[in-house]
Symmetry: C2
Subunit: 145 residues, 2 copies
């Protein structure tokens, strides 16, 4: 297959896939949290404790913007922020108990929307899909899930 064809196929996939992910994300947007907020909650939950800078290594947002979102999530009692004793420039961010619960809800919403798009496939095709994605991950990022 020549490079042009490969690139074309990938771009076609991207357009379609981005579109359907966009639709999935709209289900998340019906929650009380913006997409970026729920991404942040997801990351904090995963890391257990983190900092704004570390979050931003993944999300690459404007720093000021991120700072404000974190502030908002703290005001909503989803996160706590505590100055690190070892490096007073940094603030340790954690989920509150409420934050953990809310994050789980968002996680379920997200899983359910995936479930709904694979529900029309039979189990062996569902498994095949997961294997395909795994392989793409290995090729692109050198890691599977």
């Amino acid at each position: 297959m020549d490079e042009m064809e490969i690139i074309h196929k990938i771009r076609t996939f991207n357009r379609n896939y981005v579109r359907s992910i966009g639709l999935l994300e709209k289900t998340l947007l019906n929650t009380d949290y913006s997409l970026t907020e729920s991404q942040i909650l997801f990351i904090v939950n995963e890391k257990k404790r983190t900092t704004a800078t570390e979050i931003n290594k993944l999300l690459k947002l404007d720093e000021g913007y991120l700072s404000r979102i974190i502030k908002k999530l703290i005001a909503r009692r989803m996160l706590t922020k505590e100055q690190s004793p070892s490096d007073k420039r940094c603030f340790e961010i954690k989920l509150t108990e409420k934050g953990v619960k809310e994050q789980q809800k968002l996680d379920e919403i997200s899983s359910n929307s995936i479930r709904s798009i694979i529900s029309h496939l039979n189990p062996s095709h569902q498994t095949e899909l997961a294997i395909l994605f795994d392989r793409v991950m290995v090729l692109l990022y050198g890691t599977d899930s």
Copy 2:
């Protein structure tokens, strides 16, 4: 593979892939057009002639918002809009000559950014990737590219 694992794998893929597509899209954002604008230009180029409603079947934007973007692209001499004689509610949208050129540029930027992420793979892995995406398309959308 059980459903939970499948969903988890898909979600992991999604997070990673959305992130890297996001980075690609940032290269498009360094152009004079917003992502949505370039998507519209892409669609109009593909269809040769279309209408706002048809564009929105794909992009699902707010109608007012779309209307304004089209207006802006017309002001920039990228698009033309002409009332359809057969149904005067509709307006045929086309690319101007300039629009075609600009769209081609955006298209190349987009292709180049794909090229850069597959460049570290050897040709057979690149081909494999395209085949994987094709298969995902078949499974999810019933169509390959």
